[in-house]
Amino acid sequence: MNFLIDSVLFSYAQIFFSNRKWFGLVIFLVSLLTPKIGFLGLLGVITANLIAYFLKFDLSKIRSGFYGFNGILFGAAVGYFYELSLSIVLLLPVFILITFFITSVLEHYLAVALNLPGLSLPFIISFYIFIIFLSNYGEIQFSKNLQIFDIPTDFSQPVSIFLKSLGLIILQPSVIAGLIILIAIFFFSRILFLLSIISFIVNFYAIKIILPFQTDGLMVISSVNSILVGIALGGSLIIPSRKSLFLVIISIIMTVITIGFFHQVFLTSRLPIFVLPFNFIVLLVIYSLKFRRDHTDLTLLYFKPGSPEENYYYHHNRKARFERFKYFSVELPFFGEWKVSQGFNGEYTHKDKWKFAWDFVQVDENDKEYKNNGNKSEDYFCYNLPVLAPLDGEVVKIVDKIMDNPIGEVNIDKNWGNTIILKHAEDFYSAISHLKEGSFEVKVGEKVRKGTIIAKCGNSGRSPYPHIHFQFQLTDKIGEKTFKYPLGIFISKSDNEKKLRIFEYPQKGELVKNIETHKIIKNAFDFKLGNKLNFTYEIKNKKFEEEWEVKIDIYNLLYLENNFGEIAYFSLSDKMFYFTSYVGKKNSALYYFYLSSPIIPFTFDSELSWKAPYSVTELTNTKLLYLNELLLLYKNYLRAYGELKFIENEEDDNSFLIITEIKMKGFGIMSFMNSTKRGKIKIDENGNISEIAFYEKNKFIFKANNNLEKK
């Protein structure tokens, strides 16, 4: 029964691209304003969902309203256009069956083959069939005396057209229905609220200019289509942005033209236009957008949709935090700290085809590269130092037997010098050049692990003084064009600022080194499938016990799940841990853990700090966010980021602390919204997460302790 109710309510919500049950309920109640239309709609959705259920379609899809909303539209449309008669009531279930099959075929075809939403196309097709079928019994006769429930208002004409258009989406073209829907939309999404108003206004003027001889009826039907286009393209199927708003305006102009087209086409057949222009334009735009080379603007939804706001925050948070996360975690090919003497687009040789390469040398604390007077290779600190494999791979090419140059001279004949090329994956190779003659510790064909010593730094090839040249490339050719790929995790120092860098590119002049694995920190975050953790905490004097378990889903994604069903997805590499998303209530130990450890490198260094972006919705539920969301189409005025650091031995016990300062900052008119939160994770000397604490405005708000004996 619950399932049925859910599937019905979600079906109603789906009409407006919403995934909220309460929103579906509001739409359902609005549809009952004219009971005849409402009940036929309800009949439609229940029938459609039951058919899907008994035919054993995917339950989660039925529940989400995927199959149901076309049923609503069909039922409601029948009630709207026809007088109720026995024959029509008997025909209705048959046609809903037809609608259902069209839905399943179309949705499946569009979704699987073209990766497009099906929209309300099934409803339109089956309703046309219905109308034309009924014409077998005579002229198409639409009901003339339908009474749409409304209450008298004194809104100006455009406003009442706008509200009626909103109502007409569920076939209730009344001011009161439109008003309720508009309010509901506001509470569901500020972006959709704005979009529906903007769409109407654009449409209103577009019609006046393009189709000045229009009738009121055409104005209403054009408004309906335009509002739906705005809702779909402005924020529901595309991540909202200024550009998506612009796209909406262009699309509405196209919609108006399409209206003019269909109006003439259907003039003789007397078929209603319905939302056909909306379906046509939205599918057209979405489908063509898929063929672009670059999807950074007007990004189509690539995840399970939420409200446009959620889509926006999710997309931008993901972009900030994980976009740069790559599959391979490359390390610097040496021990110790070296200096980038030439970076990307360098001034000496890293140009054109070879612009994505690094040269590394070693310097002492006074930034000198050599001792004595620097006229022998041996004087240079980096000379003869071990060079390591940056990633697991296979040795595919070695060039040896090129003599070191005297200092200051270069070998232009064999400019790459002694070089080793490793293959890490198909079409992914790394090359290290200017190595020392005869220093290779591996052979061609040998498999090497990341960090294995492969050779020593020399001064061969186009190398006036000892250094190594490091690049990625797509083939095993010596001197191949460089390929841009970041390093997994490293520490950089410049101007005495020490930073942890994650999937970034070392810059010229920086001192860089690999992180040193700290066993205790690694132990704490190296979650293995099936690991269990157990925490106790108190909220308002009530004791809670929370158990986490490490699980894995069918896509091989690891997550922590607590006994309340809250879930936090995470990723693990050999050198770091990071959370990807959290689903659940904002008061569990898991939630605070998620906030307190967004990215954790497996090292320990109290001089190190690093940043992690957050999405503001992860931090607060306040309705003040509505203001920001009204502006979101223009700009996000709220930012949140965490600054993390390690602290050792507070209170002189042997524990390690990870502190996260999460700052939410408002800009411009949101500048009144500033907050600071602090997360603290304590790791004991055996590598257990022993305590999770959270502070807001320096006031302690949460603390959970690990029940170690239960582990």
Binding site: E337, F381, P386
Partner: protein, 452 residues
Amino acid sequence: MSSKKIYERPIITKNQSGFMNKFGSSSLVKPKVEIDGVLVKDLVDKWGSPLFVISEKQIRSNQRNALRIFKSRYPKVQFAWSYKTNYLKAVCAVFHSEGSWAEVVSEFEYQKARRLGIPGENIIFNGPDKSDSALLNAINENAKIHIDHFDELYKLIELTEETQKKANVAIRVNMDVGVYPKWDRFGFNYENGEAWQALKRIITSRNLKLIGLHTHIGTYMMSADAYKTATIKLVDLAKGLKNNYNLNLEYIDLGGGFASHNTLLGQYLPAEEVVPSIEQFADAISSGLFELSGSLDELPTLILETGRALIDDAGYLITKVLANKRLSTGKRAIIIDAGVNILFTSFWYKHKIHPANETGVHTEESAIYGPLCMNIDCIRESIVFPNVKKDDLLVIDYVGAYDMTQWMQFINMRPNVVMIMQDGTVELIRKSEDIDYIEQQEILPATLKNFK
């Protein structure tokens, strides 16, 4: 150069027959007017003579260089400051602030390290003399105890059984690395299997946690290869532990012993030319350590207890000429106010000595004696040195290691020690002694008080 010519006392030098030195005969001795930018004269005016001067900048630079050199050859390196080399608080504090742990060889040194705030787990407790109370304390504070002999091992087992506490231990191993003299008086021998016996005994005891292996093959080592041999022998033991007991050691401690740039008494060539560089020592040790297979994460940390090579050239002794005199042989002798009681290392080294001001170009073979009324008080038997006058200041180089720990109060008091800080200011880090300080420990029995 001052505009006024320097007055030179007339000297008579014997004409040598034979070939001329093709490099000419310019004086090898250059004056040292300042240390780290501070005038030697100013230092003596304020703090008196003799005066030990330590350069903070030089210590840091030595430590950073050594760390850089080792870390770019082996991923996990930890230095532990060898307290006995110089345990003045300020010196230790500089090393600790550079990330060094403490390496101590007595309860006294252990206490010094603790007082400086070094946590027990960052203290390596070496040496053949550890009292029961010292061991108990070290166990309680999680110090790393390096066992020297079986009696100590049995004692540790006994103490940990009694207290039911776990102790973190390593053993010191001695071995033949092809260098004479063989240091076999410390630790357990590798070649005769004693070390392996000790390791087995530790593994079978419930309360001892074996975390490392330690060796210290000698002092002032002139051969880097000896370190490779030593490392390979320790690695062999580590492999044995891994294969037989699946035990991964936390660290391998190669001790100290790297030579500094002081020239030994018996050496002909100057130390700079014969002593291996730290790079060479590091190459030898790291190549030995990579004999251990396994992932980088599993490799043990390399611990180094380098003392002398990190501090020797950061220490200077300023001294004043008390007198010039001729010996019966006609050789000149210079008497200075610093004796062997504060410059203990003059028994080992041919110290480099500079005048603190410009001198003339003529040099003369001289002996330099200290102020003590003892025949052994000789700083340099023979040195080609320019003319200096009474009250001239001299600077003796490379006195940072051992002199400020092995010095003694004998005939004279021990002088002030100052540190020239990184910012160029000078801080007194040990006050010169006075008679009250010396006598405060003394007790005159009542019966002897009125001996008049």
